[in-house]
Symmetry: C2
Subunit: 277 residues, 2 copies
């Protein structure tokens, strides 16, 4: 772990670290916000943020305005990159495949399989690194935006007991049913639709072993809502399964970080109730 | 005026407009945040933000986290670009001269004079446009960062009665005495140091007609503090002149928007007291 940025922020410190990831087989960058309590030596819970298509570790830490709330609630925020990166890593000219578009799964298909292992990275390696390097409590939460909202929901549903709280902004709730997900899943997982269902929040809710409450915010004016996000599919799946869901449709809000910033305080408070309770 | 971006934000709306500026002789872009009160038709005061070197109208609106506070206090935020832009506008390869580095003055020297008129733009043309286009009250405040902190202080000091409140983050308080300012002033204003003094906050404080209180926040860990910012010169000038100054030195904080975001709420509240009082 090498620290490459540090900035005082709301009495705590926003840092960026890079480390050699054994899982990804590349160097990986990650934003870490340490609240004042963490700087004072208190073991704090860790809340993981997963960003959307095209993002790096920078978008969330510069634009979401989450630090003030993490400072208030005593949470460490960890924001990884959205894919492996580097010249040796397979890529695609499109913004929605390859670097910047890891979809938080372990690819099984060539040329993606060797490096594109964002599920193992986010669920296993990154927490191990974070919990070794910083003073943390045992509790973890996870949230994210768009592709990262898909990541947060699916990783929480696929790994019962691993996260004490989960939430999402504008998530891709049913990647198997929308163009972004179909393109990525066909490339990373191949044509077998049963493999797709294992990474699809709407499909996973039906068989969830754990009824972890889902908090989802969705802008009603989001240009991607009807074609790519389809929050109504998550509502129907949760209703059918009896899975607890708080779905907030926000009139006028779009897909941007202006939307995220407007409601990030509510999401951090949601996680704080579970993580510090 | 043509609106090129709009995003719901904290119950209000963050917009970006472009317009043909007669003063600059170019198209100009400006960020405008309309708080919920403005959307409801209430005439709101306008708080102008001036950004620092290299910035456009985007930096403040995406990174400072000011909207939540403007929403709470019912202030319109207006954030212009930092210089004229375009192929027809003189430029320099350096980051601290030419486009992105207008220094909030009217240049008198070639090749800058025809377009580099940011003082007239910010003080006259932009408020006229804003007050014609939006429903505003008669009160204006001004604040900014680094080069924009210099802009806020000097424009308020040079135009008594025009601003009801002023504040700055990490301002260049004595441009005549530091490399950034000396380079820009020599280029834009020529070698006559009396012309420089008219755009130097430390020089202006001595003869200020109006004792408008100055609020300044400065990070103690700011890498530019000792060579370019020199807040102690402003303290000495205000002490000598009996000019009211609240100078907050913030241990650990640097020159970044992480610093600005941490204290923007206090600055917006300072302006709100003057603008809504």
């Amino acid at each position: 772990m090498e620290r490459i940025e540090q900035h005082a922020s709301f009495g705590g410190r926003q840092e960026v670290w890079k480390h050699a990831s054994a899982v990804l087989g590349t160097e990986a960058r990650v934003g870490v916000y340490l609240p004042p309590a963490a700087l004072a030596g208190v073991a704090c819970p860790v809340l993981y943020w997963l960003s959307g298509l095209t993002c790096t570790e920078q978008n969330f830490i510069t634009k979401a305005g989450a630090q003030q709330h993490a400072a208030q609630h005593g949470l460490i925020l960890v924001a990884p990159d959205t894919s492996p990166r580097g010249e040796e890593v397979a890529n695609d000219a499109a913004y929605d495949l390859g670097q910047g578009a890891g979809f938080y799964l372990n690819a099984t298909q060539a040329p993606w399989a060797p490096h594109y292992r964002m599920e193992d990275y986010v669920v296993e390696e990154l927490p191990a690194v974070v919990e070794r390097w910083f003073t943390t409590s045992a509790r973890r939460g996870i949230f994210g935006h768009s592709m990262g909202g898909h990541g947060a929901l699916t990783l929480a549903l696929r790994h019962p007991g691993r996260y004490a709280s989960v939430s999402a902004f504008s998530p891709i709730v049913a990647p198997s049913q929308v163009p972004w997900g179909q393109k990525a899943f066909a490339a990373y997982l191949g044509d077998d639709r049963t493999a797709w269902a294992a990474h699809d929040a709407v499909a996973l809710v039906a068989g969830a072993q754990e009824r972890l409450p889902l908090l989802v915010d969705q802008g009603e004016a989001d240009a991607f809502r009807a074609a790519q996000l389809k929050p109504e599919l998550l509502r129907a799946a949760c209703d059918a399964a009896g899975h607890p869901l708080a779905l907030n449709l926000r009139p006028g809000y779009d897909h941007s970080y202006y939307f995220i910033a407007s409601f990030i305080g509510e999401h951090v408070a949601h996680h704080a109730r579970a993580l510090r309770g």
